[in-house]
Symmetry: C2
């Protein structure tokens, strides 16, 4: 175990990992570049080699969050099942991710990175929505739900799950069991789509 060499070698990665840990424990406000540098045993100016500014680090964190979330949702939807079950599984995966990564989700959907967002970040943010569209399209081509613009339908479904995820993550469901709300939302959506 040698002391840290002058060239850290993997600073960018270590900063990101430490940042994710700190984020989940203390929220965005608890995140300071100088503290991250201290944790990594490096001068406070070192991170600027790897992230232009603090926002760049937050954006990188957001992007990896979107990738993880989409991954979890994609796995939930991949299992062969009826569209009805796949939509439910999508909702469950979304809400579960939200509850397991409260602060990360808040960062991901904070308006902050609105203007200068990377193309990669935008694409990552879109992929969860794309997944929803594909489930809707499958259900439509199976003739199980009403025709109608699949994007709009997916947007409504996604918004519903997003709303539940955000409220659940913020403990604003007034103590209603999350699983019940997710189930009720899936039922209601499906009932509306098959009406």
């Amino acid at each position: 175990m040698p002391e840290q060499p002058y060239h850290h070698g993997n600073l960018r990665q270590e900063l990101l990992e430490q940042a994710e840990t700190t984020l989940s424990r203390s929220g965005v406000d608890g995140l300071s570049l100088r503290q991250l540098a201290r944790d990594a045993g490096v001068s406070h100016a070192a991170p600027s080699r790897h992230f232009r500014d603090k926002q760049a680090l937050l954006d990188a964190l957001s992007e990896s969050g979107f990738l993880k979330m989409t991954d979890a949702m994609a796995r939930a939807v991949a299992a062969p099942a009826a569209p009805r079950e796949r939509l439910f599984a999508l909702a469950e995966a979304y809400v579960r991710f939200a509850m397991d990564h409260t602060e990360l989700l808040a960062l991901m959907y904070s308006t902050k990175h609105a203007p200068g967002a990377t193309a990669q970040l935008i694409a990552a943010g879109q992929s969860a929505m794309d997944l929803t569209v594909s489930v809707v399209c499958d259900a439509q081509s199976g003739g199980e739900i009403s025709t109608g613009d699949p994007t709009t339908i997916a947007l409504v479904a996604f918004s519903t799950f997003h709303g539940i995820a955000m409220l659940a993550a913020g403990q604003m469901l007034d103590g209603a069991p999350v699983a019940e709300v997710v189930a009720a939302a899936s039922d209601l959506l499906w009932a509306g789509l098959t009406a």
Copy 2:
């Protein structure tokens, strides 16, 4: 127009008003107690007489935001109309408020004030949801929609509108016209409820 007297007289109110303006222009991150003090022509330590810390000011801002929002929603729902239209009006009012007060809404639903929130703040946050419950109950007692726990139904409806509001405020609807998504969501919800 005399110079500001030593005792400002209305500092708390002026700080809140200036804070709301700054918030809407620059977001929470653009909000600094010291800057607000400068704007009010007062020393940087003066605000602490009126707000224990920065979070207290943010909480006060949130609370007044919730009051305004509920007020707008209540007005939208007050007009005598069929439950179907009242639910739609509720959704419209919510989303309109969200788009007109992007940063305020983000603050209101940030998890920040989770632990030390005032009872007043919590109550204010609840009132929009209460309004939704009452619309659902009216629809149920009119026999227009399926019976079932009105709180759960309201929670799903509220989540849907909340999700649309948040995504719209963050310009994450991929360019889909907000009004269309709101209408589609209302239609889908109502179809599910009357199925």
